[in-house]
Amino acid sequence: MDNVILTIIGMTVVTYLPRLIPFLVMANKKVPARVDAFLKCIPVAAIGALIIPAIFNSTPDKPIAGIAGITFTLVFGLWKGGIIVPVLGSVAVTYLVFMI
């Protein structure tokens, strides 16, 4: 078998199992209050940890473009909220700054 196909199959397995095991172990079970509090903090921790470093690396050729795009999302999101305008607007702002 070709190396790339072998790599893809291996990646599929090691990506799928960590996504699956918690469902098999935890669904339909009561979790202790402390564990529940921990699980409830995971979303904000995970999203914060994903976004902040990425702001500086998302457009490596011109970091200021990505920073401008995310700043638009931040300002518009705080001001008006919503999802579609902050997302599409960030792409437009990033592209504009790229073009300058």
Binding site: F23, F38, C41, P43, I52, S58
Partner: protein, 232 residues
């Protein structure tokens, strides 16, 4: 129309919009890396995990063998273990067979949307979100591979920002609502930025350490305002 379905369709649009450009970028890079269209398709259709696919391409280009790439992928994607754990407790009246399907589609973005949906997670909500994410990811990959050469580079680069804008737009209302969430999210981001800059941990470890540390701090040290209901 059912309220859940309405919510799902509305939340699917930005995921779709964010995934298409990111997937196209993957298709374009795959072609550049000398991977066949079938292999490129299988990457997105089977692995379905953005960041790790880009990293795998880079590693394959450096000549790393399957073992190294697979091990790196395990580390990079292990954060989904924590995300699945966080979601699993909220889907209690769904059959086991469905868990196998649901687990396959636990990406950062789908996880984020589901996390801040209040109440229990219904089957139709989950399936609509995951189906739109998956179809955008797979079709974007193929379009990028086939048409990639025609897109101006500045535009593809700019479209990559959509995924982070999406995550931020999902997180903002939560941070406005709760000072605790604001503090935890920013601390996690700062900690991860520092760990990445220090560059002493293998790829993928820093985010796992951040999530565990900050969630522990959130659960045991920072007092929560009112009831622990904010996240659903």
């Amino acid at each position: 129309m059912n309220k859940d379905i309405q919510y799902a369709v509305k939340a699917s649009i930005p995921i779709f919009i964010g995934y298409i450009p990111a997937a196209m970028a993957f298709g374009i890079l795959s072609k550049g890396a000398g991977i066949s269209l079938l292999e490129c398709f299988l990457f997105s259709a089977m692995v379905f995990a953005g960041a790790s696919q880009f990293i795998a391409l880079n590693l394959l280009l450096t000549g790393m063998g399957p073992g190294g790439v697979i091990l790196t992928t395990l580390l990079v994607n292990f954060r989904h273990f924590l995300m699945s754990a966080s979601l699993a407790s909220r889907v209690d009246d769904i059959t086991r067979r469905f868990h196998f399907l649901f687990a396959f589609g636990v990406t950062d973005e789908v996880f984020s949307v589901l996390s801040f949906k209040e109440g229990k997670l219904s089957k139709s909500l989950i399936l609509i979100l995951q189906f739109s994410a998956y179809s955008a990811w797979v079709s974007g990959t193929i379009v990028g591979y086939v048409l990639g050469g025609f897109m101006p580079e500045a535009l593809t680069n700019s479209m990559g920002i959509a995924l982070y804008a999406l995550l931020l737009a999902i997180l903002l209302p939560e941070m406005k609502k709760s000072t605790k969430s604001l503090i935890l999210a920013i601390s996690a981001g700062v900690l991860n930025t520092i760990l990445i800059k220090l560059d002493v941990l293998p790829n993928g470890w820093s985010i796992i350490i951040c999530i565990i540390t900050i969630a522990l701090v959130g659960a045991f040290i920072v007092p929560s305002e009112k009831k622990e209901e904010a996240y659903g």
